[in-house]
Symmetry: C2
Subunit: 420 residues, 2 copies
């Protein structure tokens, strides 16, 4: 048991997940000033420093001085493809010179470039390169991280990826959640046999992955050039039968009705939503499906930003995530995503923080365990190098996270990093 004291601002985060009112609730960060927090693996007590003295009395509890800095829940990055092999910086340079993501994919680049490299890579290579990126995410404040498969696109390589994710989950302090994304693209071997690939996914891989408990979620990339909504529905219904919870890459390039499908199948989240049908926006206020926005991807691909304000005003549960991947957004830093969400998507700093923590947890169905600092939830939090959470957006482009604690243990102190 440790009592953290001398916290300038304890940002608890408390936007309700279901039945939210439109607009302002994501702005309520539930801040306690001059706060203290008693923790073991979970949060035991939260209040002001003054109250803490009364509650604790003369009980000898070790204290930890937060030096007048701000404390927030650790970030929940609910959408990443952080396990991959290869390098697509050449494609990036081509895009900057004017080529579109689709043109590059048509030349054999895009997802298939990473699929070739990932199929060729050993488990060991995949593990070590992903570990380095995940530790970087951790240094920037991420304490829960979703990781998708989807660069294998054959039985052996998809399972290789899921085994790597499982090994990362067991060995790293970050909480890792696995998503099966066999339906990331139709692999070239099945270009003329789409149905057979979908059979492979629904009849072989989903049942196997479910039995082996290799994933919590099943995701589908539903867009023009990827999977149709009909195909996506077929895959996600199989997933549901086998106990995998649906997610969707929805309407990133074109409105194909994927956001609507996400709600229809009860997906935990619909992600991207750059071209969400305005009629569907209202639906998000009525249902549990989280609208997960990935501003780093729109930024990298130089696309219009996701309609954050429209969704928030309508009452949707909006999350933000990195989408960390080697093609459309090579960034593992949630602080960067908070900056983009505030500067380019019209979100307030408070909304962006709620979206990066509690709503990210909701997108992973983990909001009763992580994503906010409440009695009974895991003591997963960050200590900034600043007394105010505002610095996460105001002082941008450098790392504001000084310490990371997960499950009540200090897993990282960056203090050495912050001074020469």
């Amino acid at each position: 048991m440790i009592l953290l004291t001398n916290i300038s601002e304890l940002v608890t985060v408390r936007s309700p997940i279901a039945g939210r009112k439109p607009g302002s609730q994501m702005n309520d960060l539930g801040i306690i000033r001059d706060a203290a927090m008693l923790i073991e693996e979970r949060v035991i007590w939260i209040g002001t420093r003054h109250e803490a003295e009364k509650v604790i009395g003369s009980t000898p509890i070790p204290q930890y001085d937060c030096r007048g800095q701000a404390v927030l829940p650790g970030f929940v990055d609910s959408h990443t493809h952080i396990v991959f092999a290869g390098d697509r910086s050449n494609e990036y340079a081509e895009r900057i010179r004017g080529k579109s993501y689709q043109e590059i994919a048509a030349q054999g680049g895009g997802i298939m470039a990473t699929v070739r490299a990932t199929r060729a890579a050993s488990e060991e290579e995949l593990y070590h390169s992903a570990q380095e990126r995940i530790l970087s995410a951790l240094r920037h404040g991420t304490t829960t991280l979703e990781i998708k498969s989807g660069y294998g696109l054959d039985a052996e390589s998809e399972l290789k990826m899921l085994h790597v994710i499982d090994r990362l989950r067991r060995s790293l302090p970050v909480r890792i959640v696995a998503t099966f994304l066999g339906a990331h693209a139709i692999p070239p071997e099945f270009a003329d046999q789409r149905d057979q690939y979908i059979e492979l996914l629904t009849k072989e891989l989903i049942p196997h992955i479910s039995r082996q408990k290799l994933a919590t979620f099943c995701d589908v990339f539903a867009d023009v050039g990827y999977f149709t909504t009909t195909e996506a529905q077929r895959i996600l219904e199989a997933a549901l039968e086998w106990g995998l919870v649906p997610k969707l890459h929805a309407d990133e390039f074109v409105d194909v009705g994927a956001a609507q499908l996400a709600i229809a199948v009860g997906a935990a989240s619909a992600d991207h939503l750059l071209h969400i049908n305005p009629a569907t926006v209202e639906e998000f206020a009525r249902w549990r499906t989280v609208a997960t926005l990935l501003p780093g991807t729109a930024y990298t691909l130089r696309l219009p930003m996701p309609p954050a304000r429209t969704l928030i005003e309508a009452g949707a549960t909006v999350a933000i995530a990195t989408d960390c991947n080697p093609g459309s957004c090579y960034c593992e830093n949630m602080q960067m995503v908070i900056s983009l969400a505030t500067q380019l998507c019209g979100m307030t700093v408070e909304e962006a923080i709620t979206a990066a923590t509690l709503h990210g947890a909701a997108a992973l169905l983990r909001e009763t365990e992580v994503g906010s600092l409440q009695v009974g939830k895991y003591a997963d939090f960050i200590v900034l190098d600043s007394p105010s959470y505002l610095d996460l957006a105001y002082h941008f482009g450098t790392n504001r996270v000084a310490e990371v604690w997960i499950g009540g243990k200090q897993v990282l102190t960056n203090s050495a990093l912050q001074s020469l």
Copy 2:
């Protein structure tokens, strides 16, 4: 003498400063692959590793292994206000909720908020807070840094700032260049006596600063609500008489003809240029004045981005800089500026690197000494944690700089920072 070897890409940078052709020259980074570089305080020899073996023969020279990573010139951040006191995160939050920079200034915020805090701060406080930010800039690859006064706006406080800048210059490894910006705003004491303030600047401060060698440049904020172009001209002509080289904050909010004035007075640079008159763009191709763009400020203030492509296509010498300041852009990281320049201003990665190094040096009239890696120039360079310079923009939002060398000395190794 040290021989650096095993450099995957040695990015020398070699865009000509004067007489550039429109368009493509900023893209020529003069890259040498599998390179080596022989250095003392300055660069002695550059070539391929293979050539190095022949040149050096059996001479016993200490070697340093760059581990197959990319080497680039250190960044030259040619526009900062990095010495200041106080915190304006509250204004930032108000802006995010919809207030304009001008509305906040009218309420007593803006530059005057920082002026009050800076006047009240001791030299010691100013020195230590600035040192921390400058070391952060250094960790992110900045090896030459311009710093402006301008938060004093009275004789005593402006000189206090310039003394702090001088002390930072003498004590830190980063090369620091000082700019006198007494004409940052009309101080409230002179609100109805603009002429008297300009007299103070031109008759007292500029001569004193020149005699004491406290600044190389003299800058004026020429815009609606700040100084008129007529006033700016009067101040800069006094500066020229006293050997201070003009710079201008030009046409940030409104086209007041400040870019034109910059060329007329032979300014080293005209900075911001969000509203540059299209007729003036062509002038930048004909004259030595550098067009310095500050995309971090447009990003923070949510203004349209500076017209980078128009200026580059016209043949202007375009630099990019952070504008690091507590009001409109609190960011000391040039890698962030490179990311914004490529993603939001339509610059190629190569153009952004040229703008962040050699053209930044030109904006400080230091291009014969720093800003590119050429025989005879200072050995100021960075080693990335990546084999390709593309990663500076492609893998964004985290620090790609693993080592910083200034004047042939390794002043910083980040290797401890890159792994847990």
